[in-house]
């Protein structure tokens, strides 16, 4: 029962955060120079002041701020994000078309980063002064300091141009004729490798460093000594007793980092022309398509909030200490 209650509180809090994002969105749109009437006028090649007035009345732009805000929040909560005059499509439709590509990229990158990061962290923690440990430290420094779009371009030069192993851009090979489902999946995965590894490179470094620190701490604790005294094998101690306890800070960080992953995705998508929300955001900004820009900000905040919620639940299942602690 307690678990259910604390989950409900979390969900209510997430909804409140989301409403705050919508309010921020609207306030920025309100404060920014230019409005929908300008956009429409621009798209149709200019309009006289009376027509502009009429448009403003029709869209409720002559109402006071607070009423406009209320209407906007209400609309967004009904998942009506407005209309893109540039794409001639409802913003919601645009988002839903692009969302799967971004989710695929972001989740793959996050999973790759977690698995490889944890493995590297464990390897270097088992032998803190060995070669592999120094390698992990160096690798982490690279991940911290290299701009992710540059890493992407370097991988592109290396593995698409010099050694043509992977495609240069996009998510699908449009020249495939009447591909079967299986070929399509393989094709998308083939396109996914470079972008996913590029995006993973930033977080991989972070996770391996944190996992290394957490592992070193855990391996020094009493119950590990007990496990050793019981005569368990090294492998069993490290992976079963050690890793289980070192994992929870890493998962916490992975959840907190998710908004950074989405930020990184914008750059990576641009480098690899990946048809997701990031490339859409950039196109919308260049086209000054405000409803789309704000829609993407809202959508990505929504994704981050949902992921944070899931992380919270995952943590509760893998770490009983949190369950009892917050009850």
């Amino acid at each position: 029962m307690n678990l259910l209650r604390s989950i409900l509180i979390r969900v209510a809090y997430a909804v409140a955060l989301l409403i705050a994002v919508i309010v921020l969105n609207f306030t920025m749109m309100y404060l920014a120079p230019g409005d929908v009437a300008d956009t429409i006028a621009q798209a149709s090649g200019g309009a006289d002041p009376e027509v502009m007035e009429a448009i403003r009345r029709e869209y409720g732009l002559d109402q006071p701020f607070i009423i406009q805000l209320g209407t906007y929040v209400g609309k967004v909560l009904q998942l009506d994000l407005g209309y893109s005059f540039f794409y001639n499509q409802p913003v919601m439709q645009l988002m839903l078309d692009r969302l799967p590509a971004t989710l695929l990229l972001v989740l793959t990158a996050q999973i790759v980063a977690l698995i490889v990061g944890v493995l590297l962290g464990v390897i270097s923690a088992r032998n803190p002064n060995g070669i592999s440990s120094h390698f992990v430290t160096l690798f982490a420094l690279f991940g911290y300091s290299a701009p992710v779009f540059w890493t992407g371009i370097l991988l592109l030069i290396a593995f698409s141009l010099l050694v043509p192993l992977f495609p240069v851009a996009g998510m699908r090979d449009v020249t495939l004729e009447d591909p079967s489902f299986f070929t399509q999946v393989v094709d998308v995965l083939h396109h996914l490798v470079l972008p996913a590894f590029t995006l993973a490179s930033i977080f991989l470094a972070l996770y391996s460093r944190l996992c290394r620190a957490a592992m070193l701490e855990v391996l020094g604790s009493d119950y590990i000594r007990t496990a050793k005294a019981k005569g368990l094998s090294d492998r069993q101690i490290v992976y079963k007793h050690g890793l289980k306890n070192a994992l929870s800070p890493v998962v916490t960080l992975a959840g907190l980092q998710f908004s950074a992953v989405v930020s990184g995705a914008v750059l990576v998508e641009t480098v690899f022309s990946w048809p997701g929300l990031g490339t859409l955001a950039l196109q919308a900004i260049i086209a000054r398509d405000t409803p789309v820009i704000l829609g993407i900000l809202f959508f990505s905040a929504l994704v981050v909030i949902v992921v944070n919620l899931i992380t919270d639940l995952v943590l509760r299942t893998i770490d009983p200490r949190i369950r009892t602690g917050s009850a």
Binding site: S145, A146, P147, F149, W150, I153, A213, L282, I285, I305
Partner: protein
């Protein structure tokens, strides 16, 4: 007189001790030297190397070394070396200014939350969490898109979204220090809230904040590079990220136009994070764990 003799008697002042600890971290010392060179280069470079970075000087895509252009030319035949030197100033200035702004916001919010506790803390920390949910790059892209691309908006856009870590650290330090006896002592000696916050607690909370601030400069430079790579920057100046962004279609013909500016960003940020590591060792010797 006694003032003059006392420091000599002590083995070392706190500052000297910190410097000594820092010198032990060789990587950090090397990084500091490199960083100093980069900063000097950015300050005096444009005088030593006065070529206008927007001038077309030679055939496009000439490789490094040709005709005396050590880094070659870009797709418009502009001197890449001039662009790097002039870009250094922009990248470093925006990085520093944005980091300064985010540290200022972070300290203010963290200090108020940690000092007053209660509903102030609740409200401010919820506010901080709110900013952590928004993907920072996307948020600052929106700010730049809506309010125009100038050096000032770019700086504000970066500073306004990257203060959350500083706020959290400051708050945690304030929560710890406000309960210590010397704070109690100053309070009973009649120190006001402002004096307690910024005169007593903040100086003692400084070490982790300084380390974070140093790292923030690196993050801000990466951030600016990302924005200008996407073309969201003042079109009248050159910056490292923007060189990469504008040349990236031509990597097949001219890889150096992308690799060299990227290397500049990488080395600068790497040097900053190594110096940050060194500062961390020097300022928190107790937290040192290897």
């Amino acid at each position: 007189m006694s003032d003059q003799t006392q420091p000599a008697e002590r083995a070392s002042s706190p500052l000297a001790e910190t410097v000594q600890m820092f010198m032990k971290n060789h990587a950090a010392v090397v990084a500091l030297v490199v960083l100093t060179c980069i900063v000097i280069g950015a300050v005096v470079g444009p005088f030593v190397y006065p070529n206008d970075p927007f001038d077309m000087v030679w055939a496009p895509f000439s490789p490094p070394g040709e005709e005396g252009y050590i880094f070659g030319t870009d797709y418009l035949g502009r001197d890449l070396a001039a662009m790097i030197v002039h870009g250094a100033q922009v990248s470093l200035t925006i990085g520093l200014a944005a980091a300064f702004m985010s540290v200022f916001i972070g300290i203010t919010i963290g200090a108020l939350a940690g000092f007053y506790r209660g509903w102030v803390e609740e409200v401010l920390m919820r506010f901080t969490e709110f900013f952590q949910v928004l993907p920072t790059l996307l948020f600052s892209m929106v700010i730049v898109a809506l309010f125009g691309a100038s050096l000032v908006t770019v700086t504000i856009a970066i500073g306004a979204v990257s203060w959350t870590a500083v706020a959290r650290i400051t708050r945690a330090e304030f929560l710890r220090i406000r309960e210590l006896e010397y704070v109690m002592a100053s309070r009973s000696a009649g120190a006001g809230n402002l004096k307690l916050m910024f005169g007593v607690i903040l100086p003692n909370a400084a070490p982790p904040i300084i380390v974070q601030a140093a790292l923030m400069v690196g993050t801000a430079i990466l951030f600016e590079a990302g924005l200008s790579f996407l073309g969201l920057t003042d079109p009248n100046v050159v910056s490292w990220g923007q060189i990469i962004g504008s040349n990236r279609q031509y990597i097949l013909d001219a890889q150096w136009t992308v690799t060299i500016p990227g290397l500049a960003i990488f080395v600068t940020v790497l040097a900053i994070s190594l110096v940050g590591d060194g500062l961390n060792d020097a300022l928190n010797p107790k937290l040192r764990q290897r």
